[in-house]
């Protein structure tokens, strides 16, 4: 059974005019224990909203979950009381964001911030036990001189160190699922490589599952077991990380790869540039949302919205690959 199973999730935003518009449209995916699922897409595609919807962290009342189920170990998180949800959030499911500075309290020492998490979820533990655990966590995430850092304030740490503190806080309760939303985007590649190695190591040790959200195709391909590609609020392609980018089926996935410098493009050669814009939420087309930018688009694409089809039935059922495109068979051949 999957640890987390998202079924037909919809997120809508209510504009000033009172009209609800859908930003995330009926997306479904599942993550098994110990596995990493990568959610990749360009800005505005709805990947972060998906993460926030899972944890009920959407900015209310403007944004709301307007449909679907979020099953965590069989329980629908959408049906839980706020109190019951708080028990899961931070304890069973933890989250780290792109900018650790805005997620950390600037006027509190990091040791106290970690202990606060422990207090909330393990109120019976003594202060000394919690302090020892905080020290252990900082050591685990590779912070040099952890005993001194317990008394440091966030501004005294570098960006990479702050992100390590965030990871330490997220791991404090040994979550079964870690949601990481662009955790390395603000960091240098050398520090990114350190954080990615750390996450992989911790995952091996604790067996936690991960939902890794990023715009970086290469990074997601290195980290994930499965990858979902999002475009304009929908998952357009899903499959095992090993094959998704080597045999992309959806024209959007194909164009993303063709636009990426380095990936098999001779230097100074023109990259494929995807013309046009993502459709605005005010006038989402009835048909395929990528049709206006797709070089293969035909009449059917403008008329009807493609549903996800199994694109590779050679794989085991848990590995299944799918694509939401009317024409993928003819494009692939």
């Amino acid at each position: 059974m999957s640890l987390l199973s998202v079924e037909q999730l919809r997120v809508a935003i209510r504009g000033d005019d009172g009209v609800q518009r859908e930003l995330v449209s009926a997306i479904s995916f599942a993550i098994a224990s110990g596995q990493t699922m990568g959610l990749v897409g360009e800005s505005g595609c709805g990947k972060s909203l998906t993460a926030m919807a899972i944890l009920d962290l959407l900015p209310k009342p403007q944004a709301l979950r307007s449909g679907g189920k979020i099953l965590f170990k069989g329980d629908d998180l959408a049906q839980l009381s706020p109190k019951a949800l708080r028990q899961i959030r931070g304890h069973k499911i933890a989250v780290i964001f792109q900018d650790p500075m805005s997620a950390l309290n600037p006027v509190q020492q990091i040791g106290r911030q970690i202990i606060e998490v422990l207090k909330l979820h393990f109120p019976q533990q003594s202060r000394a036990v919690q302090r020892a655990r905080a020290l252990e966590l900082l050591t685990e995430v590779g912070i040099p001189a952890p005993a001194e850092r317990l008394n440091a304030y966030p501004h005294q740490l570098s960006g990479g160190m702050r992100q390590r503190v965030m990871i330490a806080m997220a791991l404090a309760c040994e979550p079964e699922l870690l949601i990481a939303d662009e955790p390395t985007t603000a960091l240098d590649v050398t520090i990114q490589a350190q954080i990615v190695r750390l996450l992989k190591k911790l995952q091996e040790k604790n067996g936690m599952a991960m939902l890794f959200i990023t715009h970086d195709l290469a990074l997601v391909s290195q980290l994930s077991d499965h990858i979902a590609v999002m475009y304009a609020g929908k998952i357009v392609e899903y499959g095992p990380a090993a094959t998704l980018f080597s045999t992309p089926r959806h024209p959007y996935t194909q164009s993303l790869l063709a636009a990426l410098p380095g990936a098999g493009h001779p230097p100074k050669s023109p990259l494929l540039s995807l013309e046009g814009q993502v459709p605005s939420i005010e006038n989402m087309p009835a048909g395929c949302r990528f049709a206006n930018r797709c070089r293969f688009a035909e009449n059917i694409c403008k008329r009807s919205d493609p549903v996800a089809e199994v694109s590779d039935d050679q794989l085991e059922s848990s590995e299944q690959a799918s694509v939401a495109c009317h024409l993928w068979r003819s494009i692939s051949s």
């Binding site: 490589a193 636009a259 410098p261 493009h265 100074k268 540039s273 814009q277």
Partner: protein, 350 residues
Amino acid sequence: MTSNTISARSSASDLATNMAGDKPVLTVEDLQLHFSQGGGVFQRRRAKLRAVDGVSFNLYQGETLGLVGESGCGKSSLAKALLNLHKPTAGSVIYADTDIAGLSDREMRQYRRALQMIFQDPFESLNSRHTVEVILEEPLVIHKIGNRESRRQRVADLLAMVGLPPSAASKYPHEFSGGQRQRIGIARAIALEPEILICDEAVSALDVSVQAQILNLLLAIQQKLKLSIIFISHDLAVVRHMSDRIAVMYLGQIVEIADAESIYSSPRHPYTQGLLASIPRLGEASPIDAQISGDLPSPIAPPPGCRFHTRCPHRQERCEREAPVLQASDAGQHLTACHFWPEIIAKQSA
């Protein structure tokens, strides 16, 4: 007006000639840019932040020189020092036989025409209360080029060149997407037909598909105008795509400079090796052995000796004492600032 004609050249820049033996359009020698830090009422001593600390290189006609390094390594400070946006503390920047380093704003004005820059966030660098037409016309007005009518025509040509519709002229910057704004930034930078364009993280804020459009545009414009470009980015894949030669910076200094192919296929400096090993590659695991640990040390108190020794997996005792010089070991144009790179390479290929 003061202008220092240069007769002698340092050995480092002589070595850094390119294959074709072209004349450089820009020669940078031992450039330094230091900032004073702190020094408030209660602090007796002001600390010195060495953002750029002895950088020398040549930029040749029509080439793109990529500049890479982690944030805080001094790439953007170097760009600003080249254009006198921050006055260099020492060293020279020679353009058209004149040392332009440290010229006053008024003296610099005649050179601004030839040296232009585009920034990461075009929204912050475009005046939000002016229409695109006014923004693009402004450099022409300042440099007293043409009359009103010919300037309007030039604006229309510029918009066409960067792929924006003529209707864009009457709009304001906030009406455009990030990619379109960067097109406006490019149009403004090329309005005066510069010889040298400095791109500071010009595509870093853009999505992959938009980034590809802007990179294509830059390549096309470079061809058309025969521009020499200094291309600064933290994205090593983008830099490789755009550059003929690449300089790798670490804590205010260039640690390796060579043609793009050599840098990527046979990096010599352990820092370059570690930086390249850190780039995630599609569907490939990254090599473990060349990875860099730790953070960038503070440029206020850079480590003695080789500045990279605190993070270097190959450091030896000499590295802590003696700063390596950027030099070629053979007759080639591949310069490396490392005492032990031949040994390191030999060990790695064994």
